[in-house]
C-alpha cells in the first residue's frame, strides 16, 4: 500500500475511531485499526467486536493494499503533524512508514489478515431519521441505562416502535430509575423492527459523539443481531445486546394522586445547595411537601444539614420522600421545560417525572428510604 492523504481529514477519522478502540488489552489486535485503500479514498476501520466503525477520507492511491497498526499511536502521531499532505507507505509487509517533511515514523503493524472479520453493510434496509431527533432521544435516555457489567440487558437503550406506528421509542433503566422518550419519525414503517432491540450503551454514546458534527438525516437499519448507522461518510455497526429488556410498562405509575408542579430552575438551584451536605455514600436528599412549599434537605453525618424551600403547586396529602440526589440532578439537567411535574403515590412507590412542555418524555425514579 502507498497512499497520500490530507493530514486534517485523516486526523479527523482517527479521532472518530478512538472511542471504539479497545483500551483494555484483552486482545492486542483490537488496539489496532485497519487502513485499507479504496478508489481515490482510504478506509479506516476499528472494532471492539461489539462495535465497529468504518470511516473514510479522500486519498491519492499510488499502490493499493491494507495495513493494521496501533490506533492510539497513529492518532497521536497525526496530532503532532502540521496541516498538509502526508504519505503512508508500506515498504514491506506489516510495516507502515509515514513520511512527513523532515520526519519519518516507522510503525510496526500486524498482518491485516489477523484483523477481525468486520460486518458488511449489505442487506440492511435503511431508514432516515433527523440527526437532531436521534441525538435528543439518546441524550434523554442514556443516563438512565445501567453501568454495571452484571445485568447486561440493562446496559443499553431499548428501541421499539410505538403501537401507533408513528413514534419511535427509546427506553433505558438501571433498575432504580427509568427514562422513556417517544418521537414522531417520518417513514418509520420502513424500519424493519418487529419487536424491540437493545442498543449497547457504549455504542450509543459513540453514535451521539458522531452525530454532533452532522446535519440532516442519519440512516439506520436493523438486520438480525446488528444495527447499522450511516452518519455522513461514517458507518457504525453495533451488535445488539442479547436478552429480554424488562417489562418496563409495569414500572410506569399511572394514577399517582399527589401532583406537584415546580420551577425546574428553582428545583435545580435548591438541589445543588442541598447536595453540598449529602452523605457521599448514601447520596439521599429528603423532599417534604407541605403548605404550598417543597422543603429540600441534605444531611451529612459529620458536617451538618442543608435545608431550603422552593415554591411549588401541589394537590394531595402532605408527604416526605427521599431520593438519590444524582438521579434528580440527571433529570433536571437533561430536560428543557420550564416546570417539572412530579406524580407521587407514597414514599415507597415509583415516582413519575415529566415536564410541562413535552408529553412524550417521562422518567420514573424509585424513592429511597429516609
Amino acid at each position: 500500500m502507498k497512499i497520500s492523504v490530507d493530514r486534517d481529514s485523516f486526523s479527523r477519522c482517527l479521532t472518530r475511531l478512538q472511542g471504539v478502540v479497545e483500551k483494555r488489552n484483552t486482545m492486542p489486535v483490537l488496539a489496532n485499526c485497519l487502513i485499507r485503500s479504496g478508489d481515490d479514498k482510504v478506509y479506516l476501520l476499528a472494532t471492539d467486536l461489539d462495535i465497529t466503525i468504518i470511516d473514510s477520507c479522500p486519498a491519492k492511491v499510488k499502490k493499493p493494499g491494507s495495513v493494521s497498526v496501533n490506533a492510539r499511536k497513529l492518532y497521536e502521531i497525526f496530532k503532532e503533524l502540521e496541516p498538509g499532505e502526508v504519505e503512508l507507505d508500506e515498504p514491506e509487509a506489516q510495516k507502515l512508514v509515514i513520511n512527513y517533511q523532515n520526519f519519518v515514523f516507522d510503525l510496526q503493524g500486524i498482518n491485516p489478515e489477523e484483523y477481525p472479520l468486520l460486518p458488511s453493510d449489505e442487506g440492511y434496509e435503511y431508514f432516515g431519521i433527523e440527526a437532531e431527533i436521534l441525538s435528543e432521544m439518546i441524550d434523554k435516555t442514556i443516563y438512565a441505562a445501567a453501568v454495571e457489567e452484571g445485568r447486561f440487558t440493562l446496559n443499553g437503550i431499548f428501541m421499539e416502535k410505538h403501537e401507533d406506528g408513528k413514534n419511535l421509542r427509546f427506553v433505558a433503566t438501571d433498575g432504580h430509575r427509568l427514562a422513556l422518550i417517544d418521537r414522531e419519525v417520518e417513514g418509520l414503517e420502513s424500519l424493519n423492527l418487529e419487536k424491540g432491540v437493545i442498543l449497547p450503551k457504549k455504542g450509543m454514546s459513540e453514535l451521539d459523539k458522531l452525530i454532533g458534527s452532522v446535519e440532516g438525516k442519519i440512516e439506520l437499519g436493523v438486520k438480525e443481531n446488528h444495527i447499522a448507522l450511516r452518519i455522513g461518510d461514517t458507518l457504525l455497526f453495533m451488535r445488539l445486546v442479547d436478552g429480554e429488556f424488562p417489562e418496563y410498562r409495569r414500572v410506569i405509575p399511572e394514577d399517582n394522586p399527589l401532583k406537584i408542579k415546580i420551577s425546574r430552575e428553582e428545583f435545580l438551584k435548591s438541589l445543588r445547595k442541598a447536595s453540598t451536605l449529602v452523605d457521599e455514600k448514601a447520596r439521599s436528599v429528603k423532599l417534604s411537601f407541605k403548605d404550598g412549599k417543597m422543603t429540600i434537605e441534605g444531611r451529612h453525618p459529620s458536617f451538618g444539614i442543608a435545608r431550603g424551600e422552593c415554591a411549588c403547586e401541589f394537590q394531595g396529602e402532605e408527604l416526605e420522600i427521599g431520593f438519590n440526589d444524582r438521579y434528580l440532578y440527571d433529570i433536571l439537567t437533561t430536560v428543557s421545560g420550564e416546570n417539572i411535574l412530579m406524580e407521587i403515590k407514597d414514599e415507597m412507590s415509583p415516582v413519575l417525572f415529566k415536564t410541562d412542555d413535552d408529553e412524550k418524555y417521562l422518567c420514573v425514579v424509585m424513592p429511597m428510604r429516609i
Copy 2:
C-alpha cells in the same frame, strides 16, 4: 460570632484556602478552616502545619467571635450561592449557621481552641519584590524540584542572595536536572538572608497561584525557620525545609566544548513528534549531532520508531546523546527565547541549557544511557 459578608468576596477567600487545606485525613482538624471576626472584616485561616494562609474580606460584625468548620464544604456551599449578602451565625458553640435567602446551612464545627496555633507576622522585616518577577522565578525553577517525599531537601526551591548583592537566586533540582535563575531586585539588602533557605514546593506552588491575580509588589520576609509573604490582603507563611541544599554549583558545567544553537520552536515540534514513540517507562529520546543537523529519535519496543531532523548550528565533535523527553519538554515550554543553546561535554556528563535572550537563566540535565 455573627457577621454578614458579601458572597463573592468571601467565596474568593475560600477558593484561595483550598490549596493549603490538608486533603489526606491525617489530622481531621486540618481539613477545617478558622473563621475569626476582626474590625469590619473577617479573617479566614487554613494550615497544613507547614503552610499557613491568612486571608480576609470586609464583613459587618454584629457579634465578634471565631468558629472552625470544614473548609471544603464551606467552599462548596458558597459556590452554590448567588451574589449577595450572606449571614454567618454561631447560635451555639461549635455550630455555624449560614442564612441565605430561603436556605439554611447548619454546619457542625470544632472548638476553635483546638485549631493549631498559627504563626504571627510579627518580627519579620519585609522587602518588596515585583509580583511578575517572583512569579517568573518560581515558574522557571519549580518544575525541576523533586516530587518524591524521600529526599526532602530537594522538595523545594532554594533561595539565596547572589554574591553580587544585587540579584536574588532561585535553584531547584531533583538530582537528574537543575534549574537556576538570577534576577536583579531593588532593595535586596533589606532581605534578612545570610545563607540560603529552602522554600517548600507545595507552598511555592500556592504562592504562584496567589500571585496570579496581583499587580505590583509582593512583600517577603524571612525569620528563623519561616518565610512570610504578603500578597495583596493575603498572608502566606511557609515553614522552611530543614536541611542542607546540595552543593549545586559543582553540578553546573563550565566549559563543555560542544556548543549547539537550535530554534526553540523547531526543537519543540520535533521533540513532540519523537515523543509519540518513546517507551512509556524509559522515556528516552536520542539526539545525534552531525553535518549541521540534529537528528531526534524516539523508539518504542512494540510500536516503532519516530525519527526526524532539525537544522542547528554546532561546533565540535559528532555525538549521540540520550535524554528523558519530559525534561527537554519542560525546558522548551518554560523558557521564552527564540533559540536554545546547549553545551555538551560527552554523552555521560551534565549538559547545560540556556536561551539566547537570558544570560541569567540556566538548566542542567543529566543524559540517559541509550
